[in-house]
């Protein structure tokens, strides 16, 4: 039931297909277009209708799904479809300096964007007047937790048996130390020049999350976008493997 997958080799194998070339190794020894080691498990919690555990680099993220289910506050329900709600939360011990429990502005924004990123993939119209609740807990943070959370949540939705058009895979690209790179580590994000996290449905290439901050020329942006898309594709395969390993083909 537990699957450990390292994407390192996968990332390397596919590297040649990208047009950008770069020889400089990154601080942690990765190539510019290489993911951190990745591990996804589906079905890790007993109570939740669906769940997943994800590690990428030193990030450790749990996702759980409840629903479709009824909601007490009827005013919020939609007559023709389910609403998908999301709560992204960081454990107080997940970061260097203890984080006070409860939502802050950052987690409120990420929760909103995560719901929007997952929304297009779910057949919400099959469950009118109900909610699907997605809970993401960051147990350890090392850069890229919003992407890790979306990726894990997508597997948890599938694990919950909720019908989906496609997985949603998320990955950031960015620029650090003058180089456009895939999947920024905490250090690369903090010291870097730009961060571009996206989420994507790998089958169609549709982009469901798109954020950027930093400083990129148009060309750099295009390179970074391509790298992030590439990352999503690799991650999307691992999501499918995680589900296969839980349920068989």
């Amino acid at each position: 039931m537990i699957i450990i997958l390292t994407s390192k080799s996968i990332g390397n194998n596919d590297k040649g297909t990208l047009t950008t070339s770069s020889t400089k190794k990154r601080r942690d020894g990765r190539d510019f277009d290489e993911l951190r080691p990745l591990k996804i498990e589906a079905g890790v919690l007993e109570r939740a209708d669906g769940s997943a555990y994800l590690e990428i680099g030193d990030n450790k993220v749990l996702a759980a799904v409840y629903g479709p289910r009824e909601l007490h506050v009827r005013r919020l329900l939609k007559p023709n479809m389910a609403i998908l709600r999301c709560r992204y939360n960081m454990a107080p011990f997940s970061v260097e300096d203890r984080k006070r429990p409860g939502p802050d502005r950052r987690s409120v924004e990420i929760s909103k964007l995560t719901a929007e990123a997952l929304n297009p993939a779910v057949f919400l119209e099959k469950f009118p007047r109900s909610t699907i609740d997605v809970f993401i807990e960051v147990l350890q943070a090392e850069g890229g937790t919003r992407c890790a959370g979306i990726t894990a949540a997508s597997v948890a939705l599938a694990d919950a048996g909720i019908p989906m058009r496609d997985m949603v895979a998320a990955c950031a690209a960015g620029k650090s130390d003058g180089q456009v790179i895939m999947d920024l580590s905490e250090w690369e994000d903090k010291e870097g020049e730009a961060d571009l996290p996206i989420a994507m449905m790998p089958r169609t290439g549709d982009i469901t999350l798109l954020q950027m901050d930093g400083h990129l020329t148009s060309d750099e942006f295009e390179q970074a976008l391509d790298l992030a898309i590439k990352g999503c594709q690799i991650i999307g395969e691992e999501q499918k493997n995680a589900i296969k390993n839980r349920y068989g083909d």
Binding site: R75, R105, R106, V108, E109, S111, K112, L113, E116, N119, P120, A194, L196, M201, T204, G205, D206, I207, T208, L209, L210, Q211, M212, D213, G214, H215, L216, T217, S218, F221, E222, L225, I229
Partner: protein, 266 residues
Amino acid sequence: MVQSIVPEIIRESVTNLIKKGERVDGRALDEYREISLETGVIKKAEGSARVKIGNTQIVVGAKPQIGEPFPDTPNVGVLITNSELLPMAAPNFEPGPPDERSVELARVTDRCIREGKVVDLEKLTIIPGKKVWMIFMDMHIVDYDGNLFDAAVLGCLAALMTTKVPSTTIEDDEVVIDYEKMVPIPINEQPLMCTMAKIGGELVVDPSLEEDDILEARVSIGIRADGSICAMQKGGSVPFTHEEVLKAVGIAQEKTKELRKFIPQA
């Protein structure tokens, strides 16, 4: 915040028009509504601006305050951005702590201003590691008629460009503040933001309220004077294609050029 309910019929007519390259208010798809900007509107604030895009109206006030730097950035001033979607601005805005929409607006504006390097925050250090200027920038949204992001960035930029702080000197490790000698805060870059809605598969610039209510997806892109990109935020529950994203970047680069004429002269 309660969702507006838009009858399907309005959605259809707006969408069909756009598919034909037209908009309800007669604008071209890439045309902004009328924009106006005044600075110095609030005497009690050290920097201020009132910006209108169409009927959307935001009053921005910037207030400096001496505080301590963050431990990990001892030589950097602090910029804090806050927004209030006032219940006066729309029938479905409710009093209370900022909801996710207000938080998103404040954070996206903050990133565009911060990553766009508007203020030279290092020059706001007073005593390294101990005292820096903190600039509180409060956006008061008083009338909501669509496209808050572009108005927010324009208003905040203008408010900051007109913000003055008293000059300070250090005597015996104490900060001496001279309110008689006000100096402008140091401004580096002037990023602006352009927001596009995806409706009927088309990208329309500066969505009006009507368009905002029915948009499938939204993307806001922050652009510096040199055309480079400093911020981006997608909203809404419909995806963008790869091509749409690149197209949006191009449009934003063009339209922010137009917006630049509203920036106050330094």
